[in-house]
Symmetry: C2
Subunit: 415 residues, 2 copies
């Protein structure tokens, strides 16, 4: 490779990562998906990870789709849903192809409220599905569907009103604070949830009646993982600001649909580079074992893509009771990620490492050269639809995806 090309790549990456660092994601609204997501139609179902057709989908993704179709009153049962899908009347598409992200199965349907996050610095807007603990893990019973109804009827409109009244919540500064409070903002967002609740409550009080207010504040005090959806939408907004920079080797998305793992790269447009979703090493809830787990699933690896999640694991040793491993491992992972990234974050920092920034901006060249794969901490879903979360742990993506991307990069730029 000529020195000139090398410099061109370095310049592009500097520019890309500068946009990552300068991004300022602000939560500005919550709206029904169909009102805000480009390309969403009445028969659309968006999902986590790269594109996939029904017959290759994993159990938890199928379960989540069926639950969501019941929520949308398109069908009343699993069998009716499968029939409708197989007749070709549902159009599937990845969240990431519509500037959106969703946790685990990550299924977004037209009536579902989604977070609207605007990048105050660069003007781009992204969207996030809310988080719960059933549908996104593939559960499709009545209780699970009920949560989506609560979102659409109560939580979404109420929070939307308060957020609009607040003129926007600065997610980046909130995330920086939460990272100093034991969160890594992927599997442990509890400080983020408490901080967000504390910030939004005065606005909720101003705009809601007492009955709504009690429901919404009780929701926050009993759903301490809720902030994950805000962290994910903020990270997507940050990374989308760095897309489409010619010659940049920056990874702008990593996502899994439960069957495949895929990445997108700044200098390579909208193309997905794919390998098989991997198995998670971690801890199982009592009653479950290794063979029960589905491969890695979810758009939540957008947090690692943006330099938090497992890339900030040293901030969050408390999470080890959930995912397993030692505090030493957590620090080791965090430091190791510096070998495959472009910079240290100037906003997200790690007090236990004397306030050094988190490793930020994965470079496909460094991943392929070192063979060091990004570390992702994640929840585990049962491989069968209808069962749900069975544990949590740590996973590395397949090297193939990064190799394919690098090969495509060489081809596109004739290297």
């Amino acid at each position: 490779m000529s020195e000139q090309i090398k410099n061109r790549i370095e310049d592009a990456n500097r520019q890309a990562v500068e946009r990552v660092l300068r991004s300022r994601p602000i939560l500005v609204d919550i709206k029904p998906a169909i009102e805000v997501l480009s390309g969403m139609k009445k028969n659309s179902i968006f999902h986590a990870g790269p594109p996939i057709e029904w017959k290759r989908m994993s159990g938890p993704l199928r379960g989540a789709i069926v639950a969501t179709m019941i929520f949308e009153q398109l069908v009343e049962s699993w069998d009716e849903a499968v029939k409708l899908i197989e007749s070709g009347q549902i159009e599937f598409s990845p969240n990431h192809d519509h500037d959106a992200v969703g946790p685990m199965a990550g299924v977004i349907s037209p009536s579902m409220p989604v977070l609207v996050v605007k990048n105050e610095k660069f003007g781009n807007t992204c969207f996030g599905r809310l988080v719960e603990q059933k549908v996104q893990f593939g559960v499709f019973d009545e209780d699970a569907v009920q949560i989506l109804k609560f979102w659409a009827k109560t939580l979404g409109p109420a929070l939307g009103k308060a957020i609009r009244y607040s003129k926007g919540i600065d997610l980046k500064s909130l995330m920086a604070r939460a990272l100093h409070m034991g969160d890594e903002l992927h599997n442990r967002p509890v400080a983020g949830t408490a901080l967000f609740a504390s910030i939004i409550t005065p606005y909720l009080i101003e705009v809601l009646d007492r009955e709504e207010l009690v429901k919404v504040t009780k929701f926050f005090s009993t759903n301490d993982i809720f902030f994950l959806c805000m962290s994910m939408a903020a990270c997507k907004t940050i990374m989308n600001a760095a897309r489409d920079i010619e010659y940049s080797t920056l990874v702008i998305a990593m996502a899994r649909n439960g069957t495949d793992f895929g990445i997108k790269v700044s200098g390579l447009g909208n193309e997905w580079f794919i390998g098989p979703a991997q198995m998670i090493e971690g801890r199982y809830f009592p009653g479950y074992k290794h063979g029960d787990a589905n491969p890695d699933i979810g758009d939540s690896a957008i947090t690692e893509t943006a330099g938090i999640g497992a890339f900030a694991l040293a901030n969050s040793p408390a999470i080890l009771s959930l995912i397993g491993g030692s505090a030493e491992d957590a620090i080791k992972y965090t430091k190791q990620m510096r070998e495959i990234t472009m910079t240290l974050n100037d906003t997200f920092s790690i007090p236990i490492l004397d306030f050094q920034g988190t490793a930020t901006g994965i470079d496909i060249r460094k991943v392929v050269k070192t063979g060091i794969l990004p570390v992702i901490d994640t929840a585990m879903a049962h491989k069968q639809a209808g069962i749900g979360m069975i544990g949590a742990g740590v996973v590395r993506p397949p090297l193939e995806a990064f190799k394919q991307a690098l090969y495509a990069f060489g081809r596109k730029y004739r290297l």
Copy 2:
């Protein structure tokens, strides 16, 4: 010392520390001090640390007393206050001698609302002054006095109503969670504040009108050190459960009035053992320097006495930006405290040390034998009344206090 006496001491300490570990402090109310503090009269002023007369008091303690007398409408100015005090009409007494604690100068007066914390396991009740950032550092201007008025008129009654309605808030489990969220619960109680706000808000909504509600919830979202007062009152309640156990060498209180440092010991009744308050090593706010600081002040070392605060500093590396030092120091302090304590806590733990418990239960014998002094992290007040907080850092108490206690122990038990 005979084997028999040694065993008797070991048994007593086992019993004492067992009571520390089993204690269950529940926040049950907020009431005006005069209604709940034993021995408080209309002309009483209680304060932090061991007993001290006006003429030996430090600047910040004097300033806080004057502010509080203005709040009580006993006087209108510094000069009037001094005159009234010098005429002998004000009775001073240490908070600790009335089962109470207060941060920094820690001044409690009759109309001031205090936290009421009941030990669900052992039945004892203790009390805590609320926390602010002016009066307790010796500021006595109108703005400072205004905060005390807001407490008495709005915050105390409102929180009292909500706490009674809640049937009590379990402080110990809340503290255990906060310790996993970057708090050490002395100088960094921000997760505690956010968690408390999240727990109390639904009750506030039920009992307050909208105007009060907005005031109180805004207070929480802008006063992130507030939980310190709850942490202190909980620790006092925990440690008081272990008082008056014959032959026990457990330290049940460490406190400073800005001039003297004192301890109380379980097997030695109500007696104070005293040495000079020490200077703090740490970081100054811009514009202040070493000679400006007052010696160590406040009842807040009750947190270290109960095994948190600087004894849990490894949980709270984010605090180092305030107090100085490296993450390595924080871990070193935390481990070193095991050498002078009786056990590892079974509720308060340290994820970064693979979830080991915090060193808990200071033994005067071990302090004197090893020469290792308890580590306390603390704020610094300016030595002159009226100026306020000028920094924060780490301090060790004087060895004399522990030596005197051990000497008194030998005398009392004829060793």
